[in-house]
Amino acid sequence: MSAFSVLFRREMRLAMRQSADSFMVIGFFVIAVVLFPFGVGPEPNMLARIGPGVIWVAALLAAMLSMDRMFMGDYEDGSLELLVLSPVALELVVCVKVLTHWLTTGLPLILTAPLLFVMMNVPGEIWLVLLLTLVLGTPVLSLLGSVGAALTLGARRGGVLLSLLVLPLLIPVLIFAVGAGDAVLFGNGAKANLMLLGGMLLGALALTPWVTAHALREAVA
């Protein structure tokens, strides 16, 4: 059995045993969005206007919730040291961790999003584009989040610090994701925005595993 599948099964088994985490993320996502109609008033046109942005911001914050646990358990019980010392490339371990994080956070967010589109009265013609931005954007959250999670291992108030470090770096993702929906509504087509998001995903995929692996080595050194 290859190292990848062994690691992946281990991560998935751990994630399944704590499946409440995923539900908490979804619960936060839904509640954060649902607060807005109360905050700004339930006028349908206004909700349709702010809906995509609100949903994306809520997804960003919800993804942050589970971010600090990406390496925390392994760091605390010492298995991270074994993973660093093992002959398997640490970059591969990071990729598996990120994949698991996306499967337990990003994917549930994407699956819940249509429900919130309905509740926020998001126009039907941009549903598909917004779902595409979530498909391209949420892996970037997990990838950049892994850097922050590795950097803040063992820090005081690591969870809050993680959000402070990672959220500013995620602003471009938010801009182009929400911009894609607006571009369709204004009749410009979302191709440019989607390609930029795809570029960010590829860039993050190529670079962040190395940075995260280096940060993990520093954390257990």
């Binding site: 950097l151 402070l164 940060a215 520093e218």
Partner: protein, 240 residues
């Protein structure tokens, strides 16, 4: 060269000798720059006297980028060669860079109110500089978040290098997007488009800011080295 100054005593001796000169150069440049900027430069035909804010705003914005680049270079040197002084330099630069970024944002805002009619717009240049400010704050927060100082130093060095992606975005944001912020008029391929009468005070002020930075950063590095030395002596005393 790199390792010659890694010796703290040698560095302190040199920096003590350089500091008065930097201070003098800074005072001269500030004096001349402020005179030209406030009294002896022409009033802009559109902006009136408001144009004088530019002589603070533009050098501060340059320094915000310069400080971050200096931090990134120091962090890279500290990570690759385990150069202790480079790490101290990065730490000493961070608050100065954050202050310059804040100054650029505030003066820009003060200029924007009479000129654009608003304190703040969400255009690409302003947003990316705001992100730069958050990166400075994040660096300082991460650096202080660990009980073991070495761990904070290494973690924050990696963060600085990751955040460096923002620096070219800030520089080219006015060219890539149609922004309210005007495109660059000094550092461009076909030469500056500003009249020499305005360029003189601008460069004098930029030089003054630059000297101020080097003077302050040397002072802060020396202070940091003394703090480290005191801590080491205390440890030795406690363990003896």
């Amino acid at each position: 060269m790199l390792h010659y100054f890694a010796n703290p005593t040698r560095f302190q001796r040199l920096s003590r000798r350089v500091e008065p000169w930097l201070l003098a150069a800074m005072l001269v440049c500030f004096g001349a720059g402020l005179y030209f900027a406030l009294f002896s430069s022409p009033v802009d035909y559109q902006q009136g006297h408001t144009v004088r804010i530019m002589y603070i705003h533009v050098p501060a914005a340059w320094m915000a980028l310069f400080c971050y680049t200096a931090m990134a270079v120091s962090a890279a040197v500290a990570l690759i060669w385990k150069h202790a002084l480079a790490d101290v330099a990065a730490k000493a630069t961070a608050p100065i860079g954050a202050a310059f970024t804040f100054l650029a944002l505030v003066t820009g805002s003060l200029w924007g109110k009479p000129m654009w009619g608003t304190w703040w717009v969400w255009d690409a240049r302003l947003t990316s500089v705001l992100v730069l400010f958050f990166l400075y704050l994040g660096y300082m927060a991460l650096r202080d978040a660990f009980d073991e100082p070495g761990r904070g130093a290494r973690a924050s060095a990696i963060l600085v290098l990751v955040g460096f992606v923002n620096v070219p975005i800030i520089k080219f944001s006015v060219d890539w997007w149609n922004t309210l912020h005007q495109p660059s008029s000094v550092l461009r391929m076909d030469g500056p488009t500003i009249h020499p009468d305005m360029l003189t005070p601008l460069f004098l002020m930029a030089a003054a800011f630059q000297f101020y930075y080097f003077w302050l950063v040397l002072l802060r590095i020396r202070r940091e080295l003394m703090v480290n030395r005191t801590r080491a002596l205390r440890h030795r005393q406690a363990s003896a």
